[in-house]
């Protein structure tokens, strides 16, 4: 089972803000139980939207400045970026469908 890519303060601007397709960033920490529970759902989302949307993770403990920049005060938090801009966010453990709905709001469903 493939793991999700990790982004850091150093790579965030290139991988997330510079991406051509929308990117979902999972703000997490190793000690966070609900964040671990979210992992299978995020992997499924990455598979479902393969080629259309990227899903990456960012450790808030190791990358505090990014978390502060986007006002992430609680985790897990999922932030959706498109063409360098923050478009939407979800806080707390959530379902596949809620994440999918956040993504689908950005684009019409495939025919």
């Amino acid at each position: 089972m493939s793991k999700l890519d990790i982004v850091t303060t150093e790579t965030f601007d290139v991988i997330v803000l510079g991406a051509e397709q929308p990117v979902v960033v999972d703000f997490y920490a190793d000690w966070c139980g609900p964040c671990k529970m979210m992992e299978p759902a995020l992997r499924d989302i990455a598979r479902e939207y393969d080629g259309e949307v990227s899903v990456v993770k960012l450790d808030v403990d190791a990358n505090k400045e990014i978390a502060e920049r986007y006002g992430v005060s609680g985790i897990p938090a999922l932030l959706l970026f498109d063409k360098g801009a923050l478009c939407d966010r979800l806080s707390g453990a959530t379902s596949r469908s809620a994440i999918a709905a956040m993504i689908d709001k950005r684009e019409a469903p495939r025919s």
Partner: protein, 287 residues
């Protein structure tokens, strides 16, 4: 996939492990990936096994006995790949639709049932229905039902983990109802949170050491001990507020247990309609 790999000895071993166990067996209580690995080992579909584990965990009979009762009905060699979808069609029709209050949601439930009964829905089909559901405005009463329908709109063979979303959102229906019944408004919640904060050091001291988060059974026992410790401390402060608060903290356990046992009965019925490798009973027709 043939149940128990068509081997009666595998089934016998599983049932022997489950017999007499009142707690969820390790292979069914651990994280989702462990359940899926166990399912593969036993020749059982992952989605169905996650459903069984999720329902059994809340059964009045105890998880081990509930799992035993269901798996006992499975014929070695039976093809159970369609059972999860058949169960969902049945569960939506008999347990979800009757509690819907938003008229448009009944029509959406029909659409979801048809999709679940279709021969081979494409990824676009699932996605289109999810998108349509996300556009429906529902009353607060139907939030959980809408989330449950959306959670059911995934190809469960590809994404078996979505079964956990289905059960979580179904439980949310009972939680929402409880919140309404005890008039759990933001003001009440805030007042109760202050009571809880003040009582926490004493309650924690009484409940004893906190277990590792990974130990599910110990964590559940600890939570029960902690709630037992909170109750007299809070009632001594403000009885009316505390009774409402304790109801919320303890959750609608009886309702979730009753739902789980009804759902398990429905699961047994769907499994009983599944043909074994030798022919057996006729397939149940999807709506």
């Amino acid at each position: 996939m043939n149940a128990f790999h068509g081997n009666a000895a595998v089934k016998r071993d599983v049932l022997e492990t489950l017999a007499g166990s009142t707690e969820t067996p390790v292979a069914m209580a651990a994280d989702q990936q462990a359940v899926l690995a166990w399912a593969q080992e036993m020749g059982l579909p992952g989605d169905l096994t996650l459903l069984l584990a999720g329902l059994a965990r809340h059964s009045e009979r105890g998880a081990g006995k509930a799992c035993y009762d269901v798996l006992e009905t499975v014929e070695p060699g039976a093809d159970l790949s369609a059972v999860m979808r058949q169960w969902l069609i049945w569960a939506i029709g008999t347990m979800l639709v009757p509690v819907l209050s938003t008229p448009g949601l009944r029509q959406a439930a029909d659409t979801v049932q048809r999709l679940l009964g279709a021969a081979s829905p494409t990824p676009s089909d699932w996605r289109r229905v999810r998108h349509d559901l996300a556009c429906i405005d529902v009353s607060d009463d139907d939030d959980g039902a809408l989330a449950t329908l959306s959670a059911a709109c995934w190809d469960l063979e590809r994404f078996p983990g979505a079964v956990d979303d289905i059960l979580t959102s179904w439980h949310q229906i009972f939680n929402s109802r409880l919140h309404r019944e005890v008039e759990w408004t933001e003001d009440v919640r805030a007042a109760f949170r202050i009571l809880l904060r003040d009582a926490t050091p004493q309650a924690r001291a009484q409940a004893g050491p906190m277990p590792e988060p990974s130990d599910e059974i110990a964590t559940r026992l600890y939570k029960t001990r902690l709630l037992d410790a909170y109750e007299p401390l809070l009632l001594a402060k403000d009885e009316t507020l505390s009774r409402r608060g304790m109801q919320i903290l303890r959750g609608p356990r009886a309702e979730i247990s009753a739902f789980s046992d009804d759902a398990l009965s429905g699961l047994v019925q769907r499994i009983s309609g599944t043909p074994s490798a030798a022919g057996g009973l006729a397939h149940e027709t999807c709506a």
